[in-house]
Symmetry: C2
Amino acid sequence: MSEAHFDSLMKAALLQRFPKQVVLIEEGHRPDFLHVVVEGLVELFSQHRSRETTIDIIRPVTTFILAAVATDEVYLKSARTLTPARILLVPAQAVRDMLTRDPDFARAMIHELALRYRGIVRTLKNEKLRSGSERVANWIIRTSQDGEKSGSIVLTYDKRTLASHLGMTPESLSRAFSHLADYGVRCHGRKIEISDRSALLSFAAPDPLIDG
Amino acid sequence: MSEAHFDSLMKAALLQRFPKQVVLIEEGHRPDFLHVVVEGLVELFSQHRSRETTIDIIRPVTTFILAAVATDEVYLKSARTLTPARILLVPAQAVRDMLTRDPDFARAMIHELALRYRGIVRTLKNEKLRSGSERVANWIIRTSQDGEKSGSIVLTYDKRTLASHLGMTPESLSRAFSHLADYGVRCHGRKIEISDRSALLSFAAPDPLIDG
DNA sequence: CGCAAAATTGAACCCAATCAATGTTCGTGG
DNA sequence: CCACGAACATTGATTGGGTTCAATTTTGCG
């Protein structure tokens, strides 16, 4: 998009810091701002009759509640920070105005919406087509290759949070880890070690159509 | 969008009929056409290691695999007709070209993508926050007020299909119906009767943030 | 060092899937 | 028009993955 347009958006926007576990938006409210995670982790979740479920975890740099801003309807989900975070807040009206003014911006928005859509489809497939242990196994594989430290991971947050990431209770996560011991996964405190990657891989069966 | 542009898209498109249970697209393939359901029901589903799950059910008139066309990446899900259907096939390249040519079209696409995104969020919430019986109860309520026939529904398709709609097996659906008998739901063959709507409502607890 | 939160472990339970058997419906061909 | 077979539907028994509740143990931090 044009630099002038970008600047005008940024001028209207605010960059704000939040501590962890702060609720940023609540389902049912109307969108005032488009949110962009600049730093930290944000969890999208939803509640109904005292039940709660994680819908997505957002990492930098991505937008969230873009769809609500685009349609100007109430949020379908709530968001909270999982870690301390920096969030860029862009006034919703400014975004909608820009849509009609800048075709490149509109195209970027299409791309972003499409990506987010595909992301949620992956999340859904991960949840519905895999057991808890399989989700953990795939999470280990993905995370351990991000860090490039071939054989181990050190958690940056606690296991409760990881469990909610993976759509399960802390108890289930704990049992999943002990199950994965059969495939060479050991975990001492916050350190997770992988001794037999190929065994883990064959159990996890990562799939580009789920894991990207 | 402009009529001329619309015509040019339509000229490139084809309207085709399909019998039921025909696989229209397969996950992992590249998008050749944007699909639009004009008539009938289409199920989006996905497979992994011999497991299969329904991701969404599309009814007229909506597009599907729009996100794959927008990003020009492989499909993340497959699609099959649940009933005989008429599908409009618009060449993917024509859609992408039109994006850059017609700003109104781009805006319409944003709107559609956002709607589809919100649709899948609702589906996900319905699945994760409700039990099977609750999903059935809410489906009954929604469907019975569509028809305006206050106290009864007549199924237009078989219960296997309904079960897949609702993300459960035919056996579970059957048990859910007998469970709902406690709330005044009787079902004889393809006819479902509701004798105590308020009891059903209090069990179902419909929610605008899930059911729309 | 000591306490509170987090993590693990065990037991009971619940929802839903699966397997298996039987009953019902529906479409078709005689 | 009826009879028959195949698909659909229901019911029961069993299983399994996962949650919940409760009791310890471990961890991390003041």
